[in-house]
């Protein structure tokens, strides 16, 4: 069962402003029956250009109905400029949050609002922007890019939760990952390459890492690691304590000691045991 907030439950069980508005100034339709949810949003302006009234009709789950109801309440009294600024996050927030898997309901609300405003402004029907990535739910790369940027999404599952893309056959998962990588990559500060260490610095850092990081961990199993020598990138060590007799010590060396040292000191290091 979904954990809906009391506000979601209230807007689902007692939805505000349900119905068709015959004399609407703007109408926005999104979704389809095949996709499992759809919303038609209507609004009417007063003489000052503010939204006087808004209604909706929704086919969908509890959170879709609640998001639509919330949207109609939120926009009342707003100018179109103000209404345009409403994001899907705003709708979710108004409801006290939505389960992650249901965020697409808030996105649907935002999309319907945008369409209704475009309809009023008599803007030409926006062409399907970009290329279809998800065939199952008809989602384009532009839509995915937008939702990834606006909501700081990082995984394919996130994208599915927000715009459904990738929630069907799964054939588009690679493409969605590429989009995420591109956006996240462009935002990520380029990692500065660490300056090369001198031999002395490297040995010191290895020593420190063993004492501060590795030995305290090994000590939990009554083991100990002793640094014998460093020869270029070869780190020669001896295992002591219970590690010396432990059948798993080669695994410990490779999987733990070496990977830890590579992380802390230099990725080129190779750990070798000497007797």
């Amino acid at each position: 069962m979904w954990e809906y907030t009391d506000k979601v439950k209230d807007h689902f069980l007692n939805p505000r402003n349900v119905g068709v508005m015959e004399d609407a100034d703007g109408v926005g339709e999104v979704g389809s029956i095949a996709c499992g949810d759809a919303l038609t949003f209507y609004f009417k302006l007063d003489e000052n250009g503010k939204i006087k009234d808004a209604t909706f009709q929704t086919f969908g789950c509890a959170s879709a109905i609640a998001s639509s109801s919330a949207l109609t309440e939120m926009v009342k009294g707003m100018t179109l400029e103000e209404a345009k600024k409403i994001t899907n996050e705003d709708i979710a927030e108004y409801l006290g949050g939505l389960p992650k898997e249901k965020m697409h309901c808030s996105v649907m609300g935002r999309d319907a609002l945008e369409k209704a405003i475009s309809c009023y402004l008599n803007e030409p029907e926006k062409k399907v922007d970009g290329q279809i990535v998800c065939e199952c739910f008809g989602v384009t790369d532009r839509e995915i890019e937008r939702v990834v940027r606006e909501n700081q999404l990082t995984t394919i599952d996130d994208v599915t939760d927000y715009v459904k893309a990738g929630g069907g056959c799964g054939n588009c998962h690679d493409r969605i990952q590429e989009i995420i990588d591109t956006i996240r990559g462009s935002e990520r500060p380029v990692k500065k390459k660490a300056p090369a260490l001198t031999n002395l610095q490297k040995i010191k850092l290895i020593e420190e890492s063993i004492e501060r990081e590795i030995n305290p961990t090994l000590r939990k199993d009554a083991g100990r690691l002793e640094l014998i020598d460093v020869d270029g990138n070869r780190v020669l060590v001896r295992l002591g304590g219970s590690c010396a007799a432990c059948a798993k010590s080669p695994v410990t060396l490779k999987h733990y000691v070496e990977s830890r040292l590579r992380e802390l000191v230099s990725p080129e290091l190779v750990v070798e045991e000497v007797q």
């Binding site: 689902f12 069980l13 939805p15 349900v18 068709v20 339709e29 029956i33 095949a34 996709c35 499992g36 949810d37 759809a38 919303l39 038609t40 009709q57 929704t58 086919f59 969908g60 789950c61 509890a62 879709a64 109905i65 898997e101 249901k102 199952c136 739910f137 599915t160 459904k164 929630g167 069907g168």
Partner: protein, 391 residues
């Protein structure tokens, strides 16, 4: 707390009071280990023997053909993996397109490991394409696994006929009978079934106990390797209290079936179904009504979405489930309804009611009073309803 009207018995059932009573002493009085040498443990072994006989008798098996497992999923996995291990050269596996995830997802995982899998289609009524199944069989086929009764629609497959066909070709046959055992008479001896899965919590035993029937002489390899329990076919200390509970539930179910107790359940189911169809336009039953589990109906209400229906019913304490996408966290309606080609308009608004012998006429009347206005209300909210009615 509000009174609960529980019509979600294909999800799980109430533990029968008699079952609970039978189990309780095995927690803190007769808590011995059945493997022990002392009679304190040995007495428990005796009780397990009786439970095994009851479970065997419910499905027409011999006691030594039953192993206890932790659930239906474990039984399914054990059976299918045993077949693969016993016939390592055979790389083809057959099942249907409407199986429970316990089989479906295992097959999908195995197909990624190089096994060739055939998912046999069903028609609009959920009936299996038996010719398709037979044509897919070859010397390379390791096992055919076909469910007995479908968990979503209740449609019963002709397992007798299919298993004989499969067996005549020398191929192993397994049936996931988790939804059928205890609800309809089953006699494995009269079929070609080599292995069969059942699960306690679907017929008033607790969760966490299941069984696998393995026909005598069937090649087998254990899934859990460990102690000598279950004659080496399933290691691990017995879940004694639950095994006793499963035995008791099997005994009760057998008595219930012998007295045609399911007529009460199917009469209530039919009343619910027929009245809903009469009261609500654009509603239809998913699945072959002539060949169904007596307790199950899946009804599609067009132009509304299942989760919304469930949550509105929840306000009245009515517990059912849905084949819609939104309830499961996936985005597509159930694979069962899609395999049957149920149109999207109906699949998203499909509700499953599954009754038990504990349901009453009064409860059905409450559902019949509460549900039609819910559908009306949601349809009035739906942008598709008026359009559809206008056309």
């Amino acid at each position: 707390m509000m009174n609960v009207i529980y019509v979600d018995n294909n999800a799980t059932t109430m533990v029968a009071p008699e079952v609970l009573d039978a189990m309780l002493p095995y927690f803190n009085t007769n808590y011995g280990n059945p493997s022990s040498m002392h009679s304190f443990g040995g007495n428990v072994a005796g009780a397990i023997k009786t439970a095994r006989e009851s479970v065997a008798s419910l499905i027409g098996a011999l006691p030594e053909e039953i192993i206890f497992t932790s659930c239906g999923t474990e039984s399914d996995s054990t059976a299918i993996r045993a077949a693969i291990e016993s016939y390592p050269d055979k790389k083809h596996l057959v099942t249907s397109r409407v199986e429970h995830p316990a089989v479906k997802n295992l097959y999908e995982a195995l197909s990624k490991k190089g096994y060739r899998t055939t998912f046999v289609p069903v028609d609009h009524s959920g009936r299996l394409d038996i010719d398709y199944l037979c044509n897919s069989l070859s010397d390379d086929t390791a096992i055919v696994s076909i469910m007995w009764g479908n968990n979503e629609t209740g449609v019963i497959f002709p397992v007798d006929e299919i298993s004989q066909e499969v067996k005549s070709r020398g191929i192993l046959f397994h049936s996931d009978a988790v939804q059928a055992v205890g609800k309809i008479p089953i006699n494995v001896a009269e079929t070609g079934v080599d292995m069969l899965s059942l699960s306690g919590h679907k017929f008033h035993a607790p969760k966490g106990i299941g069984a696998l029937y393995i026909r005598k002489g069937t090649k087998f390899a254990p899934f859990l390797i460990g102690g000598h329990q279950e004659r080496g076919r399933r290691g691990g200390t017995e879940n004694t209290a639950s095994i006793i509970g499963l035995g008791k539930a099997a005994e009760l179910a057998a008595g219930h079936l012998a007295q045609n107790g399911y007529e009460h359940v199917s009469r209530l189911r039919d009343k619910l179904e027929q009245t809903l169809l009469d009261k609500i336009p654009n509603a239809m039953v998913n699945g072959d009504p002539s060949n169904r589990l007596p307790n199950t109906t899946s009804i599609a209400f067009e132009y509304v979405e299942g989760e919304a229906i469930l949550l509105m019913m929840n306000e009245y304490g009515i517990c059912a489930s849905s084949g819609s996408a939104c309830t499961s966290g996936s985005l597509e309606p159930s694979h069962v309804l899609r395999a049957m080609g149920v149109p999207f308009t109906a699949a998203h608004g499909s509700i499953r009611f599954s009754l038990s012998r504990y349901n009453t006429e009064k409860e059905i009347d409450i559902i019949l009073e509460k549900l039609p206005p819910i559908i009306t209300r949601l349809r009035e909210m739906s942008p598709f309803w008026k359009k559809a009615m206008g056309n």
